[in-house]
Point group: C2
Chain length 113, copies 2
DNA sequence: TCCATGCTTAACCGATTGGTTGAATATAGC
DNA sequence: GCTATATTCAACCAATCGGTTAAGCATGGA
């Protein structure tokens, strides 16, 4: 779990994962969008691999990477434990707003980020 | 997002968050379970605060911390993007079929705290 | 066979991390 | 006012991080 969240804690690696959501990518393809050396990209990919987030298949001289969703599911589940805190809060906010608006016409949904 | 995942990438801080799920905790209370100095715990708490994961209220000489679920919800949503990768049956079948090439069955389950 | 390609490894660098200890700050209670 | 308590701040340390450049390995293709 340490390795998973650590791997996700870098924008470059998160971008690579998003890229891999579109299908298989070689190391070179993953590195292309970034203004970093191939060696640096290789390290990022190794970090993702170490976290179990991707799997690598050596095909000739190219290394093809695939998304490995297991650890993402685990992280999602870990965060899911706290779901009640933001749903509770939204519920509480909802109750407050409804109570305040008891004398008013209503229905303003705020979905903020 | 960088700060959020980075904060989550440390077992001590994750443990502190779990603790805070039980309600308000002072800095001392959060630090207690760990064999680290109060100064080290203070840094961890500052990292959580910097990520927006907790809020601090200074009450007299004690600092009371409270869980702030917003960033957790954001991280959860970010991971949710990949949900189809672990729930989509067709994708799972695809992975199995591709795994035949590697002639390798890989069963890696990570059960973390 | 020779060379370009795809990628990794090694050595290095500056910044950050997680930890320490010791001093400082502020409040609570006698 | 004095002292214990709660916590931060500052300086320091070793380890890790993200990046570089240069070299090394395989592989693919003419």
């Amino acid at each position: 779990m340490d390795a998973v969240f650590h791997a996700l804690g870098d924008a470059t690696r998160r971008h690579m994962l998003r890229d891999l959501a579109g299908g298989e990518r070689t190391v070179g393809q993953l590195a292309a969008p970034f203004a970093i050396s191939l060696a640096a990209a290789s390290k990022h990919i190794k970090a993702l691999e170490h976290a179990g987030l991707i799997r690598r298949e050596v095909r000739g001289r190219t290394h093809v990477c695939r998304l490995e969703p297991g650890p993402l599911a685990a992280a999602h589940a870990w965060l899911g434990f706290y779901e009640r805190f933001w749903t509770d809060r939204l519920d509480a906010l909802d109750r407050i707003l409804r109570a305040e608006d008891a004398t008013r016409s209503q229905d303003k949904e705020t979905t903020d980020e």
